[in-house]
Symmetry: C2
Subunit: 383 residues, 2 copies
Amino acid sequence: MIDPVNKLNLSGDRFDVVYHVKGGRVEVDLIAQDICIEQTIEFPADLISADDDIRNHIIGQVKDIKQLASEVWEVTISFAIEVTGFTLPQLINVIFGNISIKPNIRIAKLDNLPQSLLGHFRGPRFGSAGLRKMVDQPTRALLCTALKPMGLSSKGLAQQAYEFAKGGMDFIKDDHGLANQPFSPFRERVELCAQAVERANQETGYKCRYVPSLSSPFETLMDDAYFAKECNSGGLLVAPGLVGFDTMRALADDDDLGLPILGHPSFIGSYAISPNDGLSFYALFGQLMRLAGADASIFPSYGGRFSFSKDECMSIADGTQADMSHIKTILPTPGGGMTLDRVTELHDFYGSEMMFLIGGALHRGDHGLIESCNGFREAVENA
Amino acid sequence: MIDPVNKLNLSGDRFDVVYHVKGGRVEVDLIAQDICIEQTIEFPADLISADDDIRNHIIGQVKDIKQLASEVWEVTISFAIEVTGFTLPQLINVIFGNISIKPNIRIAKLDNLPQSLLGHFRGPRFGSAGLRKMVDQPTRALLCTALKPMGLSSKGLAQQAYEFAKGGMDFIKDDHGLANQPFSPFRERVELCAQAVERANQETGYKCRYVPSLSSPFETLMDDAYFAKECNSGGLLVAPGLVGFDTMRALADDDDLGLPILGHPSFIGSYAISPNDGLSFYALFGQLMRLAGADASIFPSYGGRFSFSKDECMSIADGTQADMSHIKTILPTPGGGMTLDRVTELHDFYGSEMMFLIGGALHRGDHGLIESCNGFREAVENA
């Protein structure tokens, strides 16, 4: 037995995690209890006194179990805010750390996050409104494209960036596979591309922003981010799967850096695509991206090279917009094989509170990139 | 068309990723081609000249497609080493970044990694042999336990650490849920637990090592690691899912820090448990943990609270031991609900090249922790 009996000085504030659990009724009760233990004390509850605060408050508490379908249940579990240590890594640890290893448990959403917890997270620095303001586009859907393909020289990519900017893109991001390769070293590329976009902006009067991909090693990541800022980059493309969710959060929180973040889904798809495990599209690409400071959430739209359904895409958009107190809403940014002829359809689907991401398709056809971009912009303006 | 034609100065060295792909024959050919593009240029190949090095060398190359079972194929794809930028985040990006978002593709293993790539990774600083040396146990399986439950005061945890050390444990780790919570702040806990273990070591002559859990925010993580070292901690428990694989790698690579790393599976289980997606147990808990610097790979053994099968556990053990040039072998560390009565069985299964992790079960029974630990140690010595 744990001795003496622990009396903790807890606030009493709790937050909810809504899980979808697969199984029969008896099984679900056991799984629910298991989540409560596994995500907190990982210890036999019977070895803790009945009047111990660890047993009564630290262990998760089943708030509700509701049947959604045959063998599918919505299980709501509350946790004391203190178990999160008020940090993102430990919040992730509590909501899905060890149970990520158990099948048939999926996070549907985080819910009822009290201000006493949320207040420790700043979320996106700019959010949708901030991104709109910096490119002077208060209402229409924003336009994003990507520098590619990997293997092009920094000079070649900068020329591409120049043409994209001339064509009226709002954001030009590096392809997420552009890192610090010998054919286009990070600092060389960032300097040339930022200059190219600045030159185009001077010619056009647009406020296009160049967004380098930042996937640097831990030791140089912050320095590289500052280098990008010094070059007048307009943001950072960050994949939390590659550098860590909390690393992205730290980049967003850095007041001196102060750059917007486009969140990229590289390496985190596995959390979403298995229907009975991981995190829902809503929680992962919406809520978690926002808590981790992304100002836009890039994801592969339905109907492109990837397999997301319309419902899944809409739930991502919902997750980017849902009320989370002071945590700003962000722009859902569907990409992954989008084409110009789908602009109207996608606009009808997502509405104007989004950012289009069209990459490779702008290179198609006999005309140049500038003309392709003009077509893209006009299609969005007329959608 | 991409113009002019790119002539890159590549080494010609390539490495292989072996994927398991689900689907019919025609589908698999398409998926294989898709991986080659998606993980590199993300660009229509037909817009690149036939004699361009991007088309001929940067795009992944299908080396082999072999049928494993009905609708299951082993697809081997090679990538130019240069596309990795010789960093861990970009290596992860290339092997599984975007295709993590596509169903029915699973990494079976990394293969044929040339020294020109591997040489950029130091891997585990100590590895199995190093861990054995630091606790003076050259041959028998090592003994690890965990401080728990969450909610206990630092003083209570330190008392527990003292008793575990007196009982002859080799490594005493924080439970991975111990972070920087108000009931046991990180620095207070680390100081007290490290002192407690040191005191016990002076009394016993053992070389027990205290291993605090490090899941600090990005801004303080390295400082907290150094604080742990200054307190004479004997290692760090790091969950790459919580802080990032490359953050763990940076902790392992830091020469001034020089602490061994126990790698924890929190939040990365989702990669392994869906049989057709993600990464194999071998690749994730073996190869990737080693590339990211873990000296031991903790995983939930078959027959405990989790669902891993015997085969899956054995493939993890294989992944920790397989030849990877200078990348050291590490200790598979099965835990997750292990009990004393299973020591002989587990020892027969894994062999002595492993570390036992038994936590909660040591608290069972009428006797104290020291006696439980003695029983644990004797069981392993006699196994």
